[in-house]
Symmetry: C2
Subunit: 332 residues, 2 copies
Amino acid sequence: MARARVTLADIAARVGVSPKTVSNVVNDSGWVGAEVREKVLVAIEELGYRPNLAARQLRRGSSGVLALALPTLAEPYFAELASVFVDVAHDRNLTVLVSQTGGDRAREVEALDGVRLPAIDGLIMSPLGLEAVDVQERRRDISLVLVGEHGERVAGDGEHHVGIDNVAAAAAATAELIAQGCRRIATIGVQDEGPTETSRDRFDGYALALRQAGLPLDEALTGHVHEFNRAEGAVAVQRLVESGAEFDGLLCFNDSLALGALYALGVRGLSVPEQVRVMGFDDIADGRYSMPPFSTVAPGREALANRVLDIIAAPDATAPGHHEVPFSLVLR
Amino acid sequence: MARARVTLADIAARVGVSPKTVSNVVNDSGWVGAEVREKVLVAIEELGYRPNLAARQLRRGSSGVLALALPTLAEPYFAELASVFVDVAHDRNLTVLVSQTGGDRAREVEALDGVRLPAIDGLIMSPLGLEAVDVQERRRDISLVLVGEHGERVAGDGEHHVGIDNVAAAAAATAELIAQGCRRIATIGVQDEGPTETSRDRFDGYALALRQAGLPLDEALTGHVHEFNRAEGAVAVQRLVESGAEFDGLLCFNDSLALGALYALGVRGLSVPEQVRVMGFDDIADGRYSMPPFSTVAPGREALANRVLDIIAAPDATAPGHHEVPFSLVLR
DNA sequence: ACTGCTACATTCAACGTTGAATTAAGCCGA
DNA sequence: TCGGCTTAATTCAACGTTGAATGTAGCAGT
């Protein structure tokens, strides 16, 4: 399996030129005669030469490779985000490699330090455990862009962050439920511990929309969770229903929660959307074929990826801090 | 942002020792006195030294980094597989970086060649467009392990492949439906074009189980699809129902198809599991909170990842060819 | 014949790290 | 006192690539 590597020098020896000339052919740099170029290309083909990227990067100082560090790929939102990032980057002739941190502070710091990552040009991270001080105290030689709401807090004014306006998005989603006739709108996804930025922003938007519509904010309609996944969504709805709370609308802080909620509503025999209208967040693929269907907030994933890559391409052309990308409502 | 890199030489100069001694401290190699070690560690902390991985790999010839190339992260099966791989590898002190090829032959070949990948020690790939000749004709200096059914064909006897016995798994799943009382079992997921290995194996298992139970194989109960996703699953069921086919069991060739099928069954007013029992494949997280619930075949993901990493760790200790890992049925 | 130019190709050194070989110093026992 | 052993640190070269500097023709122009 592990045959010896073919190097520039091997090609050079075979053709009878210097390694540098071969390098020039490979990189289309310098002056190379047509005849020599041809012979070199033939030799490369015959011997199966592949540039050693470690050596190239060591010399050049850059690799054209970016890393995307996410809490988990098991959550569809992150998996789909990763998918979009890779594709958008591919169109730009960049490679994005995806890494999974588990949302663990230590592993996120490791990613920042480039521990166990190959030499990369830039790091895109959606942190969960990271603290602002972790970013501030270490000098980096690569560019960093943070995404996600926790990332926004960590970034502060000193680092790049890209994301949607969560408060506005949650307010728009809530307003839509109200427009559809809901008057008692429950919410699922309030978090009381850990990185709660997302939760808080979305709750703020929810509260804002209620206030603007002159509806009361009822603590009994607030479903608390530990994490944003189906299991927690199901349990939260179960608790709400058992507590005797009555509601005709349900704002879930992401689609996984919404899918879990639909499950629990189904078990309880509550029909969607007749008895309860459900709204989610993230527009993940699972939600598109959910039965019954529910509406959701679509963050502009392509827009996000493009914005991030713009910043990575020219980190100093953009002032650090928060950069906003648009969202939209998907009604089903 | 891009501050100058701190090198071993910088640390060495500050402490007043040779770079090699600093290297020894960093790698716990060679003999270093307690006092010098301490001073070096302090300097490393103060200056924020981080080893240059490109240089290290160039010198060492290996990086401890593996790449996992998948068709897409947008499909939950692959995303969850990636998640498991990263975690299992992390436990073994290895890094797995995930790449997305789109199932495109050219991009899969690029991955094989290491184009636009940082220097890595091993490649794990679930191919879709790749051909056996692509693998055979290029000499590689890294170890390769293929996964997935198309990968099994590409691997042949000359390359490593790890996977479950799809025929047996599909047969077991079908036998379970029969044991639950189903007599007319439809199937969804037969493919007529592209990389159809998965589809064929599962259909063979389905046919085998029917034969063993003395049940007829009815072509009218066969749902054809182009891809394994929710949309196709929904459409396939719709077609089956509209064709007038009657069935009390439904074997879907993966969970995404099953979720789409459930959607279509729901729209048609067919109740699950009363009127139709549904069985899927892959045991993805979405399926676990599906309403109504359905059973599925769980491939041993951890077992798969561990087997693959065993092989990568010692590629020559294992004969190339197919290596099997167990599956199990998850009944809901 | 001399200068200056163009087109090609080469040499040299360096990117940062680390195995292998070497040196240096301290200590022990004969 | 000498050789031999242990501990500690060093020097050297090389991993494969590529910028910068340099060399060498051949040819045009004066």
